[in-house]
Every structure is written in structure tokens, then in C-alpha cells.
């Protein structure tokens, strides 16, 4: 005789009544059936929302979408009349920072163009003319070109720069142009951009050759 199969908990046990769990029907009282009280309640809710939001829109009391974005009400940003400001560390278009005398801080060391994974920076280095105090210490970029269309905005150039000469703190993003040439930013344009604080320089002090604070060797050391 075959062995009796194991009892299946999902089927009815032989000879036993099915255990029922009675789920009560939803209460359909006359109030619910007549539909009118629930309808009036719903209308009051929709009207409350309508009046509240309309009033705030008309009286200019809408919550500020960025400052009060967690408040009740319409917190949609009405672009382009309203724009969410970029965060502090947003990497925007590049700028070349300047020295006190409005010449670029860049010493044309080519660190940035070497670090650039997109190879979008091209620098032509040049010597300062004879008699300039910086001649022999530093060079300068006679041409500094960034292809903003090719740039991937990784920020490696800023990290690589030993002189704090290139920054991405303009807070600007690339605008739409109608030709590729317009995306190629030249030295003068890059030097004309300001940081978010409106300055063309940086907070880091620059120590020119000949200054008291210049940390490196001086021309006198050449004698040795």
C-alpha cells in the first residue's frame, strides 16, 4: 500500500470542515450610499487647496522654491524667471586668474594640459623679454586655448595647477553657440572671467621674484 502523502496545508483536510475567516463587508451606510456628504467633503478639500494656492500666487506669497522648498504650496521653479543658484563648488567655465599687474598667474608649466584627460587645453609657452625680473624664473603662456566643447569638466586641470592659475569657479555653464569655433576660448577671454566673488584674482598670495616673501632661490645664488 502506498504511503499516505504528507498533508498539504493549502488543501482541505479530509473529513474536516473548512475553517473560514469571515471578512466583514464594508459598511455601506446611508451616508456613504447617498454619496452627497462624501462629495461635499471632497469639494471642500479641493476648494481649500485651490484658494490657498491661488491666493499665494496672486499675493506673491508663494514659498521660495529653494529657500522654502520644504513648505506647503507651489515650489516649482519658474525657469527662466527663477533659477536655482549653482552650489558653491560647481565646476563651471574656466578662468585664468590674474596677478596684481593684470598679467596671468600661469607660468606655462603645462601641468594642466598634461593632466587633461580630454586633451582640450593647448598652451604655447614663451620667455619673458630680456630685463624682466621674471625672466629666467618663469615663463608665460603666449597662447592659452581651451576647447570648452571637448572639456568634460572633470576639474583635473585645477587640481594639477601648482600656481592656482586656472580655476572653474565662474559659476557659468557653457552657453549655446551656433558654431564650433565659438566654443574655443582664448587666453584673453579666459582672463576676462571673474570668480563668483567678482574678482579676477585669487585669495592665495603671489610671491614675485625679488619680493621679500619670495621663497625660492634668488639671482645671487647663481654665483655658487
Amino acid at each position: 500500500m502506498a504511503k499516505a502523502p504528507a498533508p498539504n496545508p493549502w488543501t482541505k483536510p479530509r473529513g474536516e470542515a473548512i475553517k473560514l475567516k469571515v471578512i466583514p463587508r464594508p459598511q455601506r451606510t446611508a451616508e456613504v450610499q447617498s454619496y452627497v456628504p462624501a462629495f461635499l467633503k471632497g469639494m471642500s478639500i479641493t476648494m481649500r487647496h485651490f484658494f490657498k494656492n491661488t491666493k499665494e500666487m496672486v499675493l506673491g506669497q508663494k514659498p521660495d522654491p529653494v529657500l522654502e522648498g520644504l513648505e506647503e504650496g507651489i515650489t516649482t521653479i519658474n525657469y527662466p524667471e527663477e533659477k536655482r543658484p549653482y552650489p558653491e563648488r560647481f565646476r563651471g567655465l574656466h578662468r585664468l586668474t590674474l596677478r596684481q599687474d593684470d598679467s596671468p598667474r600661469c607660468v606655462a608649466c603645462l601641468c594642466c594640459s598634461t593632466a587633461c584627460p580630454a586633451q582640450c587645453i593647448h598652451i604655447v609657452a614663451a620667455e619673458y623679454p630680456e630685463g624682466d625680473t621674471r625672466r629666467g624664473y618663469e615663463r608665460y603662456p603666449s597662447s592659452f586655448v581651451i576647447d570648452e566643447l571637448r572639456c568634460i569638466f572633470c576639474g583635473f586641470c585645477v587640481e594639477a595647477c601648482p600656481c592656482d592659475a586656472i580655476r572653474m569657479d565662474t559659476g557659468m555653464h557653457a552657453t549655446a553657440y551656433d558654431s564650433r569655433e565659438q566654443f574655443i576660448y582664448k587666453r584673453e577671454l579666459l582672463m576676462s572671467f571673474t570668480g563668483r566673488d567678482g574678482s579676477r584674482e585669487t585669495a592665495n598670495p603671489r610671491h614675485e621674484p625679488g619680493d621679500e616673501t619670495h621663497p625660492g632661490v634668488t639671482r645671487e645664488h647663481m654665483e655658487h
Binding site: 471632497g42 491666493k55 521660495d64 522654502e68 516649482t76 543658484p85
Partner: protein, 588 residues
């Protein structure tokens, strides 16, 4: 029919069509605007027309200068004693409205763009609710002030008041124009330009006809759907009867149009020519309306059939079965009203409500039955199974595009407006206001008269026309709200509701009403007087309830809000430093 009667009929038809066609896009806008406000989003406000600021200044100053010119011209006219007295009261009240309303607008402008002088700093620092309350107090003071002016001083006082109103309007217009910013000004009109742009787009759009569909019927569908909506408005009175005098020839000619009676009695005894402010005064009255509304089903059915699309056919079938079913309940729910009003014509119905009580107080059950049946007739939410998006895409107009689709859309909103006008006429007193009679305002309970103020025939008539259109707009606004509140009924629920709930309830309501009316007819005279006083009490409740609701709503709307700022990100700190989120020049 004389020539002047034909001209008047044409004018009435033009008023009717202009009202419906002008308000249909505005109703569409209100629909979108409501949905946006309920869902906490800005809504349709991107459509803009940019005009130079000189034109914007003209737009601000123009209406003010126009009204100032009207007021000044009236001040220089020689007015009769009555007109001068009425002019004084109206002038004072208008001046107060203009004053507090423009102060509120100025408060809003200061809030947006900052104060530029000491006066603006004073206004900007005020709670707007106080401006409103001060305005209300000024209205009351102005009313008592005007009534205390002796009648023989009226010709002088009206000049003073109207000249002051002229100066006030000019000052408001001039200051408003000076506050318009320089440069290009965007005119958005709260998004009402959106439906205008939509209509333009629909007209220019391709009109696609299904290749295997029935071309003739496909074109006929939208026309048959929109036409009944327009012609049912013909029998709805949008104002009271006008009484013109006669110039002696006993024929209604163009010369009689200038002889509008100065006053009429409340019982309206007119010796000259009577003009109904109603396109067609049919003796079958509302039966015509049911007959014409019944033909609306043909448009939907034909559109569904001619489109050569199974979704369309299903939609057309649903529409026709639903509309045919609910017509029965629609008609029967109103029989109780006919029994009480004792007429099928809409004019006498409105008069009954003026003399006794509004229809919603005598037949509240009929109101809800009629509202439900009418929404089902209009195929509006919650009865919009014929165009249920989740099942049959758009129902019977799925194959329509361009202005043909636009006609369905406009037709739906025209029907909504007509149904609102009908609701206003049947249940909300039509063109009447509580206590406003043909000879002026008389607040009386039983035999005791509380307040009486005589008005001219012209001013009562204009007020009544405005009241009718105002009631229609408010009721259609509330009806649009149904759409954003109620979920759609299933098809079998719609059928069950119509045949097993509304129809028996309508018949029961009819029987109960008939029994009560019979009992009241045989009741003693004292009971009738009690009923009359009860009717006047309902009018009193309407007036005080309406005023209280108005004050409460405006005060609630002007209530300032407190908000908490969250400066958790550098972006929020930048925005806070700039004084709020706005377009910053550094970004593209």
C-alpha cells in the same frame, strides 16, 4: 413683427453667442487653472505677449481715464432729482471700492518690487486685511452719509461726488501707469492667453479624416454636437422684462427705444411695449430645452460611428446609452418644480422665486437629482465613461483633430455654461437677487418693512443682467470643480445609478411634492402667510450668508503666511544672499 423687434432679437442672439463663445475658452482656462492649483503646480502661465512699457502704461491708465471721463461727463450733465440722488450713492460706493481695491493692488506691487517713497512704505507695512476692513467700514459710513444728504441738495452733492470720483480715478490711473517698469512688459493675463494660443493652433492644425470613415458624417458630428448647446440657451431669460413707452403711433418703432420707462411697479404694469430679455419666449418653455438637449446624443453617436474606429464606436455607444438613460431622470426630477412654480416657462419660474423662495430651498432633493442627471447628460466627470482615457482613449472623438476636435471641446464647455445658466434659473433665482424687486430694494418680513430703497427701471435691469451672468459664471466654476474632485464611475455603475436610484428618487420626489402642494393649497390662510415669511427668511439667510461668506473669503485670502527657511545648501545660501530665488546674471 416690426423691424425693431427683429433688430432686438438679433442683438439678443449676439449677446448670447458672445457670452457663450467668450466664456467657453475662459472656462477651459479655469479648468486648467483649477487642476494646477489643486496639484500644487504653477499652471498655464507661460503664454506671454511682450509689449513696450509705453503700451503697458496705456493699458493701465486707459480704463481709469475712460471711467474718469464717464464720471466727469455725468457730473457736468443736468440730472433729475432722482438720478442725482442715486448718482450720489453710487458715486460714493464706487469711489470707496476703487480706493480700497487699488490700495490692495499697490500693496501687492510693493511686496513684489519694493517701496519707492514714504507713502508706499506706509502701505507696504500694513496688514492687507486692515485695508479691506477699513474699506468695508467706509462702505457702511458712506451709505449712511449718502442717506443723510437732504433730497434738495442732491444736484450739488452728485457733482461733488462724481468730480471727486473723477480725480480719484485719474490719480489711480496715473500712479498705476507710473509704477509700470521700463522695458518690455510681459502680459500673461494669469494664463488666459493659453486658450487663445490653443485656439489659434487648432485652427491651423491638419484636419485628419480617417480614410475609411464616412466623410460627410465625420464632418457633421461636431456640428451636431455643438448646435444643441447653443440653441438651448435661447429660452433662458438673462434679464427681466423691459418696458418701453410709446410715441403715439401704437406700433413698436425705433423711436420708442429711447422711451425706456423711468420706473415700473413691482407688478409690472406696462402701457407701452414689453421686451423680454430672452431670445425666444416659448410657451412650451423647458420642454423645448429637453427636446433640444436630447438631440445632443446624435452628434456623439454619429461621431463615434463615422470615425471607423472601434474605440470611437464604443465611446459613441456609451455616450448615447448614457444620455438616453439620464434624460428620463432629468425630466422627471423637475416635475416637482413645475408643480410648485405652476409654469413651464422660465420667466414665470424666476418670478415665483423672486416672490417666494429660491428653488433650492423648496426642492433640495430635485436639485441634487437634477445636478447628477445633468452632469451625466453633459458627459462630464464623474460620468465621463464615454471618453474614459484608460479604456477607450478619448471615446467618440478619438479620430478628430484640429478645429473639429476644438468644436467638441468648445461644445462641451458651452454645454457646461448653458447647464449652469439653467441651474441658476431653476434653483438659484435666475436673474433676481433677494429683496431686489422691479421698483427697487425692499427688505420686508411679513408686513413689517425693514428697509426700502427705490431704484430706476434701467438700473434694476442692468443689475439683474449682471446678476444672471455672474451666477452662471460662479455655478460653472463650481461645476468645473467636480472634475478635480470626483473619480469616474464605471459604466455599469452609471447605468445602475440612473435607472435604479435617480429615476425612482425622481418619481418619489414628484409624488411627495404633489401631495405637499395639495395639502398646502387646502391649508388655512394663516399657514400661507407663515410660508411667505419663511420664504422671506430664506432670502434674508441668503443675503447675510452671502455677505458673511464674502467677508470671510476675502479676509482669509488676504491672511499673511509665515514660512520657515531651510539654508542647508550652498545654493540656498547664494539664493538667500540674492534676496530669493531669481534669475542670476552669471548663468545662461
Amino acid at each position: 413683427m416690426t423691424g425693431v423687434e427683429i433688430v432686438l432679437a438679433l442683438v439678443k442672439i449676439i449677446i448670447m453667442i458672445a457670452f457663450l463663445l467668450g466664456l467657453a475658452p475662459i472656462a477651459i482656462w479655469a479648468d486648467r487653472r483649477q487642476s494646477a492649483m489643486l496639484q500644487h503646480r504653477p499652471g498655464p502661465n507661460r503664454a506671454a505677449v511682450y509689449i513696450p512699457s509705453i503700451a503697458a502704461r496705456g493699458l493701465v491708465a486707459g480704463p481709469a481715464v475712460l471711467f474718469a471721463a464717464v464720471a466727469g461727463f455725468t457730473a457736468l450733465q443736468k440730472l433729475s432729482d432722482r438720478a442725482a440722488y442715486e448718482g450720489t450713492i453710487i458715486g460714493i460706493q464706487l469711489g470707496i471700492v476703487v480706493a480700497w481695491f487699488s490700495l490692495l493692488i499697490l500693496w501687492r506691487v510693493i511686496r513684489g518690487s519694493g517701496a519707492i517713497n514714504g507713502f508706499e512704505r506706509l502701505i507696504g507695512g500694513m496688514d492687507p486685511r486692515n485695508i479691506f476692513y477699513a474699506g468695508l467700514a467706509a462702505h457702511l459710513v458712506g451709505l449712511f452719509l449718502a442717506r443723510s444728504i437732504p433730497r434738495d441738495a442732491a444736484p450739488v452733492s452728485v457733482r461733488v461726488v462724481l468730480l471727486a470720483l473723477t480725480v480719484l480715478l485719474l490719480a489711480v490711473g496715473g500712479y498705476g501707469a507710473s509704477r509700470v517698469p521700463d522695458g518690455k512688459v510681459a502680459i500673461r493675463l494669469a494664463g488666459t492667453l493659453h486658450p487663445a494660443a490653443d485656439a489659434l493652433k487648432l485652427i491651423l492644425k491638419e484636419d485628419f479624416v480617417p480614410p475609411n470613415g464616412d466623410k460627410l458624417l465625420h464632418a457633421l458630428g461636431p456640428i451636431l454636437a455643438i448646435l444643441p448647446a447653443f440653441i438651448t440657451f435661447a429660452i433662458i431669460p438673462f434679464g427681466d422684462k423691459l418696458c418701453f413707452g410709446d410715441d403715439g403711433d401704437k406700433v413698436f418703432g425705433f423711436a420708442d427705444l429711447g422711451l425706456l420707462q423711468r420706473t415700473v411697479t413691482d407688478s409690472f404694469q406696462c402701457n407701452g411695449h414689453v421686451v423680454n430679455l430672452q431670445v425666444a419666449n416659448l410657451n412650451v418653455g423647458i420642454l423645448y430645452l429637453f427636446a433640444m438637449a436630447g438631440t445632443g446624443v446624435v452628434g456623439a453617436a454619429i461621431a463615434g460611428w463615422a470615425s471607423d474606429n472601434k474605440f470611437s464606436l464604443l465611446g459613441g455607444l456609451r455616450a448615447s446609452s448614457q444620455m438616453v438613460s439620464y434624460e428620463v431622470a432629468l425630466g422627471l426630477s423637475l416635475v416637482g418644480l413645475f408643480v410648485i412654480y405652476g409654469s413651464l416657462q422660465l420667466g414665470p419660474m424666476v418670478e415665483w422665486q423672486r416672490q417666494n423662495a429660491w428653488g433650492i430651498f423648496v426642492q433640495p432633493v430635485a436639485f441634487f437629482l437634477f445636478l447628477a442627471a445633468q452632469n451625466a447628460e453633459l458627459k462630464r466627470v464623474p460620468f465621463d465613461a464615454p471618453e474614459g482615457e484608460s479604456e477607450i482613449v478619448a471615446g467618440y472623438f478619438v479620430e478628430y483633430s484640429g478645429m473639429k476636435w476644438g468644436m467638441f471641446m468648445a461644445g462641451e464647455y458651452v454645454e457646461l455654461l448653458v447647464s449652469s445658466a439653467l441651474l441658476a434659473t431653476l434653483f438659484f433665482g435666475g436673474y433676481t437677487l433677494p429683496f431686489l424687486f422691479r421698483d427697487g430694494i425692499t427688505v420686508a418680513f411679513g408686513d413689517t418693512t425693514v428697509f426700502q430703497y427705490k431704484m430706476t427701471h434701467l438700473s434694476v435691469s442692468i443689475l439683474q443682467v449682471l446678476v444672471f451672468f455672474g451666477k452662471t459664471i460662479v455655478i460653472s466654476w463650481v461645476q468645473i470643480f467636480f472634475r478635480w474632485t470626483l473619480p469616474r464611475f464605471r459604466y455599469d455603475q452609471i447605468m445602475k445609478l440612473g435607472w435604479t436610484k435617480l429615476l425612482p428618487a425622481a418619481i418619489g420626489n414628484m409624488l411627495v411634492t404633489c401631495i405637499i402642494v395639495l395639502a398646502i393649497d387646502s391649508a388655512p390662510a394663516g399657514f400661507h402667510e407663515g410660508l411667505a415669511i419663511a420664504g422671506q427668511v430664506t432670502h434674508g439667510i441668503l443675503v447675510f450668508g452671502g455677505l458673511a461668506a464674502f467677508v470671510a473669503i476675502v479676509a482669509g485670502l488676504l491672511e499673511p503666511v509665515k514660512r520657515r527657511q531651510f539654508l542647508q545648501s550652498s545654493a540656498a545660501r547664494f539664493a538667500a544672499a540674492a534676496g530669493g530665488t531669481k534669475s542670476s546674471p552669471q548663468q545662461a
